[in-house]
């Protein structure tokens, strides 16, 4: 039996004639990080807002920790932290007061509240900012404080909508570290991002959405395996490539041979054994092999493969 913290079941949300979310179903196990990717307007934010109980689906349901977002929104809110794509800060409020307010708003009282705020300040590494006004912080620091706000009540599920948007590279790295630490702490995380390279380093699995429909879910490698049954390999010789293309085409399982960027790239329909035998064959045939590599497909390849490379 799976240990799903989040389970979406045929979620539907239409805005007039626009099918923002059209029968979305997937699940995320406890302690896992799922990256939610798709082009602009694909339905990521709408789905996340429904999960955060800010919107109501017109069909289907989603369960967080066993609670329905439609019928038990109050219980869902207790175990869910949501960080939208805006900072949501207050004027004339210090960092400590900001976190303190949200702790109070989550019905934390007395010692529990103070401990929760102190823990968050320590975890986020913002101890020296506690008396600074939130509005005066940089984007990266505001993002940190916002993440602190989202987890001040110690939720089991964290929903992060474009958390790394508008952050500089250093802030992104820091943010990535925080997310990994939260996941290591056992929190289930659902996050969307435009920066696919960031996601691939943070996520255990991904869900690709377009036009409100889920196109694929699973690990990047699993999805790519489903999309591309053949391996993409390339060879670089120490000398000219004369005869290499012809040799490769004569080998069993090799297709789509072409030269690109000083190397010959091709696809191999087979597993490790076939790959080893091919390398041996090349060397035995006297080709001066300088480099033989497999193309390590990432999230960007997956995204382009599935969505046809439309704008993110």
């Amino acid at each position: 039996m799976s240990d799903a913290m989040l389970r979406l079941d045929g979620l539907v949300r239409h805005f007039d004639d626009v099918h923002a979310v059209d029968g979305v179903s997937f699940s995320v196990d406890r302690g896992k990080v799922l990256g939610f990717i798709g082009p602009n307007g694909a339905g990521k934010t709408t789905t996340m807002r429904i999960l955060a109980t800010l919107d109501t689906p017109q069909g289907g349901d989603a369960r967080i920790g066993g609670y329905s977002v439609v019928d038990q929104p109050e219980k869902v809110r207790r175990i869910t932290g949501f960080m939208p794509d805006y900072a949501g800060v207050y004027a004339n409020t210090t960092v400590a007061e900001y976190l303190d307010f949200f702790a109070r708003a989550h019905d934390l009282r007395g010692g529990d509240r103070r401990t929760a705020v102190e823990n968050i300040i320590e975890f986020m590494g913002i101890g020296d900012l506690r008396d600074r006004l939130v509005e005066s912080l940089s984007k990266g620091l505001k993002q940190r404080v916002a993440l602190g706000r989202a987890i001040v009540h110690d939720p089991g599920l964290l929903i992060l909508d474009e958390p790394a948007a508008n952050l500089d590279p250093r802030a992104r790295i820091e943010f990535r570290t925080l997310v990994r630490e939260l996941a290591a702490d056992g929190k289930t995380i659902l996050l969307s991002s435009h920066i696919l390279s960031e996601l691939s380093e943070m996520c255990d699995t991904v869900a690709v959405i377009e036009h409100g429909k889920i196109l694929a879910t699973g690990t990047v490698q699993e999805i790519l395996k489903g999309l591309r049954p053949r391996r993409i390999l390339s060879v670089r010789l120490a000398g000219p490539h004369g005869g290499l293309e012809r040799f490769l085409l004569e080998q069993p399982g090799v297709v789509s041979v072409h030269e690109a960027g000083g190397r010959v790239q091709f696809e191999l329909d087979g597993g490790d054994e076939e790959q080893v035998s091919l390398v041996g064959g090349l060397v035995a045939a006297g080709f001066p092999v300088l480099e033989f590599s497999a193309h390590d497909a990432g999230l960007e390849d997956l995204f382009i493969e599935i969505t046809g490379g439309r704008a993110q």
Binding site: D55, E97, A105
Partner: protein
Amino acid sequence: MSGAGRLLDRLERASDLLSPIVVKEVRQIVRGREFVSAFGATLVAGLAIAFFSAADAVSGSGTAGRWAFGALMSCLAVLGLAIVPLGAFNALRIERLEQTLELITLTALTPRRVVIGKLLAQAVKLVTLFAAMAPFIAMSFLLGGIDFLTILLLLAILFIGSLWMSSAALFLSSLLKSRAMVGLAFAGGILVLFFVFGVGRGLMFYLSRGVFTLGPVFGIGFTDPWWALAALTTFCLATMVNLVLLAENRLALAAPNRVTPLRVGFLVQFLLIVAWALSFIKTPATVRPEAVMMLGVLGGLHLALVAMFAVTEDLVVARPPVGSRRRLLGPFYPGGGRGALYVLAQMAILMGAAWLLEPEPVLMRWLLAICGYICFFTGVPTIAVRALRPEGTASLRLRVAIFVLLPVSLLLPDILYYVLWRPEAMDLSYAARHLFNPIRTLANWPLVESVEWSTVPFALGVLGVLAYLGLSHLGRQVTVEMVSTAPQAARAEAGDPGSAGALY
């Protein structure tokens, strides 16, 4: 830990008893430029008034206190009726603009707690500003010319008035988001302020003479200021509760039923109006007709507003009530044409209360005409649209249509008359063409009866009541069909989150 540290720690622990919104708002308010400026200006104004009144007192008139208190009250009125409500308006507007309200919605705080918290925070601000003026007010009393009771009453009235204005500002703020609408609201607010200042001057006049008159138009008055204050406070509190419920209704997400608390709140407000009218039951027979007229005007206005929203509600709602709750509290639940029954029940109460006051039959017919016009103008357009498209037309469009229909009925007969008949002289006197104009007809009721034109308003009223009953029947039919055919369809009609009007 030092003594001060221990005190702060104890206060911090005690703050757990307060609403989180109050704690946050007060923290923001005391750091805000607006509060610091208002507080500073209050002190400067207080000092200036104290200086001039002291100079006046030297002349030995013995009435310098009255002038000083009047001037201080003017300052407090600006703070209480303008600065504080404006602060309430901005507090919620900024929360919506910056989308922090969404973040609060995700916590354990309900929209009602948010609105009440913001109102209480403004009360704290007001008390602080009053406290700044307290020494100067005490001085005005010592200078003579004004008694302690008047001071106390006026401060209490101003405090209640300020809270009422703040709750109205919060409601407005929950309605408006665009800058243009905010501008319009402020223009309206300024007009209201002029009106309030006019009323305030009247209050001062009456109170300074020990007589408080609630209904100068009708000649009904209270000679006991405490009774007057109690009546005013009760009415203000009832309307404040409803304003808070309305604001909550606007801010709430789509899922919960936000209509039932509102209907209960507005029924209580209506019952207070009725109770106030019935308090004249033992007065001489010459006074009671005025109470009936007051009941007609206040109750009629109340019912017209309530009918505009309750009768035009969507017939199909997300979660229809089921079981015994439905039978017991049916009219308080949204959808299914229950709004029409809710209004009809209040009309029956209005007529019953009027009958207990034993008025002349003409007054009873006048009240019937009021109810008839309300039924006609809200019921007939609604049933016409709903019969054609029971689930299709949004309530908002219907309400706008009715809102347009009323001024059309007021102006069109005259416009048509002058365009088609081209009379030589402008004739503004009441005539048969004005029978579709409820305001003029009701204002000229004795004339309407004397020339036997009352059949028309009654016929319109019968049409209206039939429309209400038709709506109730149609609503029941639609609900039964919806439940039996597609339970999911109800959710599909949910509309946009946060748009209360679209849902209920």
